[in-house]
């Protein structure tokens, strides 16, 4: 046994030269070092300023926020058409925002889908806080989702009944994404575990499910659900169109998430499994207390990646005539006087999608840092 002596390494310089010499010094050191770099910096700065200015001009300074009605009570968009390309016609949003957000839901009842959206967001926020991660959260979800269903359908407590085909806009997107992922995630965990099972039947079933579903595009599944499936049902028996799409999305998301979860399971060192077994834990105890918490923690980035992807994939339901947020936005510009203002509408809808996706992405970054603290030493 040799004796190791500890010699402290010499003190390193501060890791970052970020602020050495203040912001100016940083610019000098990083952006303007050498002729070539300086030229690129200047060129990019020029382009940035130029396009920012024209964007501000288009989006704010030259924009039209409201248009008058003509003598038939229809919007007169000629002023918007005159400034096309120079200024944005936000009047289309002013006029159509309620349609984009809530689709063909009865106009006087728009407060109901509005509350639904608020409930969804509140649900996300509550679920995101670690201090609420308790068993009661399941109850909160059940209650909130029931309330959402009651509000959307109505028919009780003096609310008028609104059939599903009149729902639309943001609530549809949130319903499809939330229910889709909430049901797909447990399914995915089961399938991922099943795929690593030693029981051949279960394993084969899970492999077939994942490979079958992953082998076809989501759009064809939606198509199957909406076009083929009803033909197999007896006449007069109709399963709701939204429900069929929802099931297709759950099955599809389940297959993808299962592979993500399986990646996490496989990345755990074998010692973890063996140690858990050595403790005498049953399969479910081992999985629930040792394996899954570590595995899921590892796969947060790809999980969120899939979540974000699916949030946006819900817009594919346009193929079966459901007015989700994007379809409602596209439909809003079909009226002749509003045709041609697609850019404004797409920018607005893009912003809504971005807010949701960016929030998910920021939250996952925070969660990842929080849960993996023990790795960063």
């Amino acid at each position: 046994m040799s004796v190791t002596t500890h010699t402290p390494s010499p003190a390193l310089p501060p890791p970052s030269r970020l602020m050495a010499g203040g912001p100016l010094g940083w610019v000098k050191a990083n952006l303007l070092n050498g002729v070539f770099n300086s030229m690129i910096t200047l060129l990019l700065a020029y382009l940035l300023v130029r396009y920012t200015i024209s964007f501000v001009d288009w989006a704010f300074l030259n924009a039209i926020w409201q248009v008058p009605n003509d003598r038939f009570g229809r919007a007169d968009t000629s002023s918007c058409r005159d400034i096309k390309g120079i200024g944005a016609c936000w009047a289309v949003i002013t006029e159509k925002h309620r349609f984009i957000l809530f689709g063909t839901y009865p106009y006087e009842e728009h407060w109901r889908p509005a509350i639904v959206c608020v409930l969804f967001i509140a649900l996300y926020i509550v679920s995101a806080m670690r201090r609420f991660w308790r068993k009661e959260l399941v109850l909160v979800w059940a209650v909130t989702l029931t309330a959402i269903g009651l509000l959307m359908w109505g028919g009780v407590f003096g609310l008028s009944y609104v059939p599903q085909e009149r729902w639309g806009g943001l609530p549809i997107t949130l319903i499809l994404a939330t229910f889709g992922l909430a049901f797909a995630f447990p399914l995915a965990i089961m399938v991922a575990l099943g795929r690593r099972s030693r029981l051949p039947a279960i394993k084969a079933l899970c492999v077939v499910y994942v490979e079958l579903i992953r082998g076809v595009p989501l759009i064809s599944l939606l198509f199957m659900a909406s076009v083929m499936f009803p033909l197999f049902l007896p006449e007069g028996l109709n399963i709701d169109k939204l429900l069929r799409a929802q099931v297709a999305i759950i099955l599809f998301a389940g297959a993808y998430l299962a592979e993500v979860v399986r990646a996490g399971l496989q990345s755990l060192p074998k010692g973890q499994y063996e140690a858990a077994e050595a403790l005498g834990l049953s399969y479910w105890q081992k999985t629930g207390f040792i394996i899954l918490p570590q595995a899921l923690r590892l796969v947060i980035p790809p999980l969120v990646n899939t979540f974000i992807g699916f949030f946006k994939d819900t817009s594919l339901v346009l193929i079966i005539g459901i007015f989700d947020l994007l379809t409602a936005a596209k439909t809003a510009i079909i009226e002749p006087q509003w045709q041609g203002f697609a850019v404004e509408v797409y920018v607005t809808v893009g912003l809504i999608y971005f807010i949701f996706c960016f929030a998910m992405s920021k939250y996952s970054a925070g969660l990842e840092a929080e849960l993996n603290k023990h790795r960063k030493r």
Binding site: R81, K84, E95, K96, R98, F99, G103, T104, Y105, Y107, T146, G149, L150, W153, G155, V156, Y161, E165, R166, G168, F179, F183, F223, S226, V227, M228, F229, P230, L231, F232, L233, P234, E235, G236, L237, N238, I239, D240, K241, L243, R244, Q246, V247, I250, L251, L318, I319, I320, G321, I322, T327, K330, T331, I333, I334, E335, P336, Q339, G340, A342
Partner: protein, 370 residues
Amino acid sequence: MNTMSSSGKRGFSVRRLVLGAMGAGLLALTAPAARAQAPAAAPAPAPAPAAGGGSNMIETIRNRGTLICGVSTGLAGFSAPDSQGRWSGFDVDYCRAVAIAIFGTDQNRVRFVATTPQARFTALQSGELDMLARNTTWTLSRDTSLGLDFPATSFYDGQGFMVKRSLGVTSARQLDGATICVQPGTTTEQNLSDWARSNRVTIRPVVIERQEDNVAAYIAGRCDAYTTDASGLAGVRSTQQNPNDHIILPEIISKEPLGPLVRHGDQRFADLVRWVHFGLLAAEEFGITAANVEQAATADQRPEVGRMLGRGGDLGQMLGVDNRWLVNVVKILGNYGEVFSRNLTPLGLQRGPNALWTTPGGLQYAPPFR
């Protein structure tokens, strides 16, 4: 079935969700979750889409309380939701007209279901819809092999081309080598290739799913020409910054009789849809409008008008509806001409072949009401 009363809506849907997740194989399980409106008399196993023979659609619709009508997800002038989410348009008015004929003056007796070109026929075949009014072309194969019927032609259309005036093209035959924007999944695409082949014109189709995207591609110069039904072209042209920059070429390369569809199986419902159309035409022919229909119903001395409007005979009862059905329809929606000018004239569409037969070139003709 009383568990499905409105108080249990949520639980009901969750159950359906779970059941649905169990997949198509467990049909037997999903059966109790069927819509409450399932016609009680409908024969349970219906292997072919054309089944349902003998079922009384009008009675089914009346019991349900609403007519379920499939419309386009959005086509200016024919069916589109307005800023408040209310459907309006030419096809939408046909749905409303049938609903009014069945239910009388109550306006909210129709549910509009937005359907895509690909899903529209299945939705009707499977019984999800009662009728489809979705600018659909009447063709032999659709009429026969799909198990559907076209009771009437509500709008005579034809496929045309629009090009930019600056291109200097005056005839479609000059489009040799041109790129042409076209929508997939419709007869439009097939007509285009049929026409190109028979006229030995080489064209390069650019297939884009949505009409607005097609138009955007055409405007941006991605395609030399845009082809769709002439009604659609007129609509697109009228909303351009400068409509005179675009011309619609004189060639009409196809016949596109558009009309409502119903499922095979109940001819009485098809009769009703057909005669609602004829009723709108006849009302225009006899000069009966939304404004004067009430007065005509009591005072007009012409015998045919009297029969039409339910003062003499029971033509309405023969159709299975109230004798005053046409009075109600015209009072709310107007006659064919009024429906046309409310929905399609703002797009810049002329009556053309859709004028009454009494006008030269007009094709719209109603058989006698007797």
